[in-house]
Symmetry: C2
Subunit: 148 residues, 2 copies
């Protein structure tokens, strides 16, 4: 479904949402170690996310990445758009370029409603809300968190 890039990006941002603040920036090195993702790949991704205002950063000692209040207002969908492009949830399951409610492929009827609902959820809920809910529900972002 999503590219690794998008997956890493989402996990990083949700991680920053619960662990960082303007007073507590986190370096790529630490993020990559905590999330168990390739560091230089993540560095590139975070750059891209920073350029697109989804993440904030500061150079130098005690620098690093963090989420500002504004950043927390963004959505998962914003992240996906930024990395994989805005067509991700608009693509036909069987790869046809014109599949839609009027001219559906054979899988359209079963797949389409789900895509719509997931897209809505990803578009309408903010990163901040997602992070809060995740804290309540106790979700996890890396396998490390599963070790007892």
């Amino acid at each position: 479904m999503l590219s690794n890039a998008s997956k890493y990006a989402i996990r990083s941002i949700l991680y920053l949402a619960t662990n960082s603040s303007e007073d507590h920036k986190i370096s790529v090195k630490v993020i990559a170690e905590d999330l168990e993702t390739p560091q230089s790949f993540l560095a590139k991704l975070l750059q891209q996310l920073t350029t697109n205002k989804l993440v904030s950063s500061a150079k130098g000692p005690h620098g690093g990445f963090y989420l500002s209040a504004k950043n927390r207002k963004k959505s998962l969908w914003d992240i996906i758009k930024c990395i994989d492009g805005g067509e991700k949830f608009n693509q036909c399951f069987l790869g046809l370029s014109e599949c839609n409610d009027v001219n559906p492929c054979p899988a359209h009827a079963i797949v389409s409603p789900f895509k719509k609902q997931i897209l809505e959820n990803f578009r309408d809920k903010t990163i901040g809300q997602y992070a809060d809910e995740s804290l309540e529900k106790g979700t996890y972002l890396t396998l490390k968190e599963l070790e007892i």
Copy 2:
């Protein structure tokens, strides 16, 4: 979601379900032209599908591919398993290897029910049923069919 390979495979099989029979085999060339897919790639795929008894074939003049009654009893899920592997609907949306109802990632709650329902549909409905329904509903398998 699916690889191009799986998409082509599903489209080919649904195409054969409505257009072929033991008495009317269809060559890769024709299938590829009708579905607008790369011919040699499709040839490889059809081989794999034939090996795995999802499609039937005959060599020589008037040979080609077709679906037997048995082939029609298979499911979309069988095709996906054959090409992309059986983990396709079992993978965590954020790429974690252990994500499940007990230890969910932040996206699990929203994504998981949909995956389950789609998987069920794909697993429980036969190719034959899919093809019949598609005929009734008037779905399409290639953009060509949209041209007036």
